[in-house]
């Protein structure tokens, strides 16, 4: 099966500064691939290079078997793209804008547009300039989905959506996957990628530092759990557990703060030997969850 996206040593410079360096990426047909990294890591540069908005300085990108630059019109016929810095024509209504973009594809998208507008709860007869940022993002999502493309390339798709709408968006992603179509989406939010993606590529300072399945990623994610006990507990009990990085005494010796990666089971069982009053779990942000981990081996692929 042809890969949905295949890049070979893809490098794109912004002027003299490298945006992305030697990205080797393979996104399989039919999968949801999360492209994860902090802001400024090169996610948008990669995506805009795939969409032929930026030209690679070296290397190549193949999308659905087609060259991203030479065959870009054919590529775009078969893809839906949501820009990260979404800007739209403010004087058009949402409906005018979506139908126009459908017309540029030679497609009548009116029915699909109406269906998605209902799901995402947006009034299409208002001007784009009058929309909130959340509503503008909904228009952006609809224009990427409305023509049922084989491949969706979405740059920070859930940005600006309220939690209810994020859930609806995740359901839309699940449907696309169930239909055997492919989604490549960027995010800097770990739980979002865990929720929707099959595999994850982690990008840092312009380089792809790792590609993992979501299961492996979860195993590697570093998190912190604070236990509060009925009576003081010796923190050294936690030192010997595989994956525990640190265990600190808190709350005047009656609590332990455990930072660990990997399986949670041993940590919980060790804690359960004592009477537990309370537990708080801290989902780290992306930086503390992973990037420290990968920074130790920046060239690991």
């Amino acid at each position: 099966m042809t890969a949905a996206i295949l890049t070979r040593a893809l490098t794109t410079y912004y002027g003299k500064t490298p945006g992305i360096i030697d990205i080797d990426l393979e996104v399989h047909a039919g999968e949801v691939f999360g492209f994860l990294g902090p802001n400024g890591a090169g996610k948008t540069t990669t995506i805009r290079t795939l969409m032929d908005l930026l030209r690679p300085s070296s290397g190549s990108a193949t999308i659905l078997g087609l060259d991203s630059s030479r065959d870009s019109v054919a590529v775009k016929r078969r893809t839906g793209y949501l820009p990260g810095d979404l800007a739209m024509w403010k004087q058009m209504t949402g409906r005018q804008l979506l139908l126009y973009l459908g017309n540029l594809r030679g497609l009548d998208v009116e029915a699909a547009v109406a269906k998605y507008a209902e799901r995402l709860d947006i009034d299409l007869d208002r001007r784009v300039g009058a929309y909130s940022s959340g509503n503008r993002q909904k228009i952006g999502i609809i224009q990427a989905f409305m023509h049922h493309p084989e491949l969706l390339i979405l740059d920070e798709p859930s940005a600006g959506l309220d939690p209810l709408m994020q859930q609806e968006f995740y359901r839309m992603v699940d449907e696309v996957k169930a239909q055997g179509r492919t989604i490549f989406l960027s995010s800097h939010i770990l739980p979002e990628v865990e929720r929707v993606a099959d595999r994850v590529g982690i990008v840092r300072r312009g380089r792809l530092v790792a590609v993992e399945t979501v299961e492996d990623l979860k195993a590697k994610a570093r998190r912190r759990i604070d236990f509060f006990f009925a009576e003081p507990v010796d923190v050294s009990e936690f030192y010997s557990i595989d994956g525990v990085e640190s265990a600190e005494s808190i709350d005047a010796g009656r609590g332990v703060s455990v930072t660990f990666s990997g399986a949670i089971d041993r940590v919980m069982k060790t804690a359960a030997r004592h009477e537990i009053i309370n537990v708080t779990s801290h989902e780290g942000d992306l930086e503390s969850a992973f990037l420290a981990f990968y920074a130790e081996a920046p060239d690991a692929r």
Partner: protein, 266 residues
């Protein structure tokens, strides 16, 4: 509706175009209405003679012809005012075409559709040509009507010829703005460069009659190509029309090429 970038670009101009038509129409109608009074003013010829030669040259006023209807309309409308208004119109549109859309950030959306970059430039060029031709056509209509009402005796061929040339002159500078915008992605730079070139070309042509050193550069001024044959009086000058059209075409081609080779900025 709105089936192409061309239609969308024309649609974008749908409101402002009426302001331009209204302004230009008012100006032209005023000049036409003013002509009979001027013609009957016997002192005016003497007054003209007393004006400095530089001023007369710059505004394309030939005292021998000025009191004929064609000479008056040629000098008052077509030697300075209308070309300037027209090139402001096209330079604004040319600068907005790709550079404006890039700086607004909406170019990503256009190019996410299966539309090639050259197609985007071609469609926007065509839209500019159609809107500018619309302005030219409105002038043709006003002059044809005024010609009858005021009985100026202008030649119909001359009216069509001067306005065709005017539209092409404007498109030339609009295409230049579009090319600079496609090259740099910067709207202000595109508009500034094109306006600078247009103003320089205007003065080179206007002052050449006084400054012998400008006679050679004058040959390269599009204003010279349009105005010196006096098409309102003599009808179509195909050499001038050909030069204007060919130069515009070259700038449009440069725009297509320049826009195809660049990174799109956000």
């Amino acid at each position: 509706m709105l089936d192409s970038v061309f239609e969308k670009t024309v649609w974008d101009g749908r409101r402002s175009i009426w302001w331009w038509v209204g302004g230009i129409g008012t100006l032209a109608a005023f000049m036409v209405a003013y002509y009979p009074a001027l013609r009957d003013m016997s002192e005016f010829a003497d007054l003209l003679e007393s004006y400095p030669e530089a001023m007369l040259a710059l505004f394309g006023i030939d005292p021998a012809e000025f009191l004929t209807a064609a000479g008056f309309i040629h000098s008052e409308l077509y030697s300075a005012m209308l070309p300037v208004i027209f090139f402001i119109f096209t330079i604004m549109r040319g600068a907005a075409a790709t550079a404006g859309e890039e700086q607004d950030g909406t170019m990503d959306l256009v190019l996410s559709a299966p539309v090639s970059r050259s197609r985007v430039v071609v469609d926007k060029s065509l839209a500019m040509a159609v809107l500018t031709a619309g302005l030219g056509l409105s002038l043709v209509v006003i002059l044809l009507v005024g010609n009858v009402i005021v009985d100026m005796g202008l030649s119909v061929v001359g009216i069509v010829a001067i306005n065709l040339g005017l539209v092409l002159l404007a498109l030339l500078f609009g295409a230049f703005a579009m090319a600079v915008g496609a090259w740099t992605g910067r709207r202000v730079m595109a508009a500034g460069a094109a306006a600078g070139v247009a103003v320089a070309a205007f003065f080179v042509n206007g002052l050449a009659a006084l400054v012998p050193a400008l006679e050679v550069p004058q040959q390269a001024s599009p204003f010279h190509w349009l105005l010196d044959p006096k098409p309102l009086i003599t009808g179509f000058d195909w050499a001038g029309i050909g030069l204007l059209a060919a130069t515009s075409a070259v700038f449009f081609a440069v725009a297509v090429w320049a826009f195809g080779r660049r990174d799109i900025s956000t």
